[in-house]
Point group: C2
Chain length 498, copies 2
């Protein structure tokens, strides 16, 4: 792509000037239409150091009302200091409906710089390229207009620009050691950019601009933006199709086939609870020290005993190292972004445990059944979620998902108990009763979810919870086992490296 890029010929200045004026006027009229149609736009501007990315953005925003856009320049956090998945700074920065976000360097520069600095391996590079494609597709399919621009200059041009910047005391500090290093390593960067762009061009294509022709680059990027927005306004917000993707899945029983009669005696419960909590407490120390992130997901029927279960897991943990995230209906600023955004923003730091009390699986349960999203949206979500969770486990996270399971009779008994006990009445709402009527519909949705998203890296566990004590012991056992395995693997990897 870059390797065979040819410099463009200069064009007539007056024509260019007139073009730019006309495009800016067209652009100025578009944001309010984007707002009305609730379409978000992300413009990623990558390119060489000193290629003029900043000046381009300046021109793009010069006629825009500030209410409609934002500019971000993400800082690349060194791999060793990073406490989040590599996509985190980008996935949490996506614009909300009706806004334009200009990103001055993003995930591409992040990945390539770390790769060339040998902060990440070739294999990790490949995993990240895959994740980038997934991320970009999810944005596109979620109705985002995503424009990817690369501003290209050759080595000689870069030399001249860096030289002129360093010659002036007021601009000298803008040239970082990284920039100079990039210039020395120009050819390696060229190869890597080229390679990266080829591998990420299918889903959302790249547009390469000749940075040595400043005015033409301004015109071209304006044209891309204006035409891109005009197109999407005409065609309407895009809704992606469901797609096939292979994930290694674990076989799951149908809910109806689960034996819910299992129980535990009070004595055995007390003894095991104490032991498991003690062990979990020790493991929490270890995963904190090894900086292993842990994501525990709780879903289940109303009144299945999620809350009490979570409390037994949380009790032995050091409060400084875990969070419980209760997931309620999305707020407006959350609804206005791709649906996984509100989970990205809640991810734990490495070494921390996050317990999600309800999760992103709302997409394929309540949102599906209540029509809060389109059929395509929830059908696409199975694989989108599998991708998201693979990004988490690739980052090193332990991801465990519990379906806390009871039968309808047990639910009814617990609902009635709540209704009749004054201290518990707040726990039961009309909505719970309404949901109960939809049990059969939910059962279909839950079964489909369990079949399609119990991946080997992020498995589901159906927890029999007619006996709540039994359920608590089961979840604790599963968590303890998974954390032990993660710690062992961590040490094994360490030994291999040494």
């Amino acid at each position: 792509m870059l390797a065979d890029f040819e410099k463009v010929e200069a064009e007539d200045k007056d024509v260019l000037k007139a073009d730019i004026k006309e495009l800016k006027e067209r652009l100025a009229a578009l944001p309010q239409k984007l707002r009305d149609k609730k379409i978000p736009v992300l413009v990623l501007i990558e390119g060489w150091a000193a290629a003029g990315k900043g000046s381009l953005i300046k021109e793009l925003i010069s006629e825009l009302d500030p209410r409609f856009y934002n500019v971000v320049s993400p800082v690349i956090v060194p791999e060793k200091e990073s406490r989040y998945p590599f996509l985190y700074p980008y996935a949490t920065a996506i614009p909300e409906n009706g806004k334009i976000l200009f990103m001055d360097s993003g995930w591409m520069e992040d990945i390539i710089r770390k790769y060339l600095h040998r902060e990440i391996t070739k294999e990790e590079f490949k995993r990240r390229v895959r994740a980038v494609n997934e991320f970009e597709r999810q944005l596109r399919d979620g109705g985002y207009l995503l424009l990817k621009i690369f501003v290209h200059i050759d080595k000689k041009e870069q030399y001249e620009r860096l030289e002129s910047l360093t010659a002036n005391v007021e601009t000298e500090w803008r040239v970082t050691d990284e920039d100079l290093w990039q210039h020395r390593e120009y050819d390696r960067f060229l190869d890597s950019y080229d390679n990266f762009m080829e591998k990420t061009d299918d889903i959302v294509p790249w547009h390469i601009l000749d940075g040595s022709r400043r005015k033409m680059a301004v015109r071209d990027v304006l044209k891309l933006l204006v035409e891109g927005i005009e197109d999407v306004l005409e065609e309407g917000r895009y809704v992606g199709e469901p797609f096939e993707e292979e994930f290694p899945l674990r076989e799951m029983p149908a809910l109806a086939d689960v034996d819910l009669s299992v129980t535990i005696s009070d004595d055995e419960y007390k003894e095991k609870l104490k032991k498991l909590q003690k062990r979990l407490s020790e493991l929490h120390n270890i995963i904190y020290r090894l900086k292993i992130p842990v994501v525990l997901c709780y879903e289940g029927w109303d009144a299945a005993g999620k809350g009490g279960n979570i409390r037994r897991v949380a009790y032995p943990l050091d409060p400084r190292g875990f969070d419980v995230c209760p997931i309620a209906s999305p707020e407006p600023h959350e609804l206005n972004r791709q649906y996984l955004w509100r989970f990205w923003t809640r991810l734990p730091r490495s070494g921390h445990i996050c317990i999600f009390d309800r999760t992103w699986y709302g997409r394929v349960m309540v949102e599906r059944l209540e029509g809060f999203c389109s059929e395509k949206d929830w059908q696409r979500a199975y694989n989108e979620i599998n991708e998201f969770e693979r990004q988490l486990t690739d980052w090193g996270a332990v991801v465990i998902k519990f379906w806390i399971h009871i039968d309808q009779d047990t639910q009814l008994a617990r609902f009635n108990d709540r209704q009749n006990t004054p201290e518990k009445q707040w726990k039961i709402t009309d909505e719970d009763w309404r949901n109960r009527e939809k049990w059969p519909l939910y059962e279909v949705a839950v079964n489909e979810m369990l079949q399609k998203t119990s991946t080997k890296n992020a498995p589901w566990y159906i927890i029999e919870s007619n006996d709540k004590q039994y359920a608590r012991i089961r979840t604790l056992e599963i968590i303890v086992k998974a954390l032990e395995k993660a710690c062992e693997e961590h040490f094994a990897r360490k030994v291999c490296k040494e």
Copy 2:
């Protein structure tokens, strides 16, 4: 306070156990009531390293439903690396209505550690103590239940605990160099804690617990929390009274006395615009390099020309170093917190410019006139805002506030123009017409605001904007002058230090 703290006598174990059980049960019933009454609770737990703050929090949350609380352990960012006001990590972390936040060390430890490390001067220490009192009062007056706990152990006890932690490989890493340093400097810490607590005890009082009596400490903190919450539930959410505070103010003319006939010729405009934008661009480089934060506030009549004015200021700036923050009506998650929270979260990093298109002054204008807050709330706000802005300028920020001013006839002409020009129609809404009818009421509110909040450190400028071009030149001149002054002062301070 601490110096004369006497160790408490041991109490009967069985009684303690029963007390704790009873208090935990009472506590478990309270969160849903807090939620119903929309009262937020912040429990700050300070204390010595190894005093058992974490275990205390563990006990406090053991019976709480995770939907109702959060635990945070803010990381103390070294002064040199900090890009925000020192209160930023705490002011942005406050809980929303109906939630309990447990903070494991907070602003007190932050200030004292930096003071003892000589990262901040004695004078800065005093300023921070003042800011803490302001911050705590603002929370209290804004309806927060704030509980401040200090867990105390003596030097001998601390030695034994640190020793036993370091003796175990699984807990050894928990003892940081900072902790060991604190132990060596125990006496200096004791003095500083004591001093700090005495100076911050009047508005929200401290509660000292004897950390060497673990069970008793648990009982005491449970008691404080349960009784504190029960009291506030009975008395209802607190609304603070307006209060007097002296700020050095600049004299401001009444809006009616401003001469709006001033104009500028097209030629003079173009020439000055170019010059000022060039100068602003240079200054942006300098303030970026010197890490001076800049907060520009725009308020003004509808159709006064704020948008166009902001665009002229933004145009010469490097998009990587500034943000425009348009302030619309607060979203639910913003309404659910102290009203300044949504501005704290939008503050620029040091070295960056943030242009607020409408600001926190909404409190004393639209919120006052539309009854979105109580009379006490907006009357208190003048001084609360003065305090907030002083915290910004103490941090080193340049804070400039513009009232973009026009007369009623000009507004009418511009409204009509918007109504009659298809591309501009989106800019005019029914609400604009309704607000126009309230012009006299707004004029009273604006005059009062200008009189009460034009402090020397964060002055208001009334910008005559019947001639928009004149207004743009005026704001640019004021900004350029203020930034030049800030840079000069920065260098002067540097020379003094050397």
